[in-house]
Amino acid sequence: MKVKILAFGIAKDIVGGKSGEMDFTENATIAQVKEALTQQFPGFEELRKFSIAVNESYQEDDYVISEGDELVIIPPVSGG
């Protein structure tokens, strides 16, 4: 299934844009999303960490994504 992905901060630079689409198998987890991202964009390995938000909330590695979810790549935050 095709899933929409948004990127912010340094993640935008790493993936080369603000938004894109990636292809995942049914029942893919956040862990698999992170792995796929790191494989396609090695720049993620150099980050202190990064998280994935689904529908405006952080989700853990075992969260299963669904068609229609909007994934957002959250690199280390630095507000304040």
Binding site: F8, L47, S57, V72, I74, V77, G79, G80
Partner: protein, 141 residues
């Protein structure tokens, strides 16, 4: 959100008087504020300006979670968290947090919790722009 919470992400200049007004209350015994500003240097490198970017809908939700925790854990009367985004110059205010509580010790603790948590969880990012380059703050180990 209740009228005890004021959360904003804005491109406009932040003002301490405005943020304080949101939390002042006749039953408050203490009001603590934190004001985060743009420093002129980082590790000796002169900062020309900063660019703040937010994933706004989620940032608002995370700020509201922080505000709610402040009200529940410290019995705060009111709390306001205002964060600016866009291009900021040295000396500009990036964030103002203001907490009113019945007793003063709690206002300090709650305010410190709020800024500490904001810096860990709220999806806002800043890029420092130097004369010879730029860097996303905290991105790398």
């Amino acid at each position: 959100m209740s009228d005890r919470i004021s959360v904003h992400i804005t491109k406009e200049t932040l003002r301490v008087a405005n943020c304080y007004e949101h939390v002042s209350h006749v039953s408050a015994g203490g009001n603590a504020m934190f004001i985060g500003t743009v420093r002129n240097q980082t590790k000796g490198n002169e900062v020309l300006k900063l660019e703040f970017e937010a994933y706004t809908p989620m940032a608002i939700k995370e700020l509201e979670k922080i505000a709610q925790a402040v009200i529940e854990k410290w019995d705060a009367i009111k709390v306001s968290i205002h964060h600016r985004v866009g291009t900021l110059r040295v000396g500009d205010i990036a964030v103002i947090i203001s907490v009113s509580t019945p007793h003063r010790a709690a206002s300090f603790e709650a305010c410190q919790y709020a800024i500490d948590t904001l810096k860990e969880t709220v999806p806002i990012w800043k890029k420092e722009i130097f004369r010879d380059g730029e860097v996303w703050v905290s991105a790398h180990p």
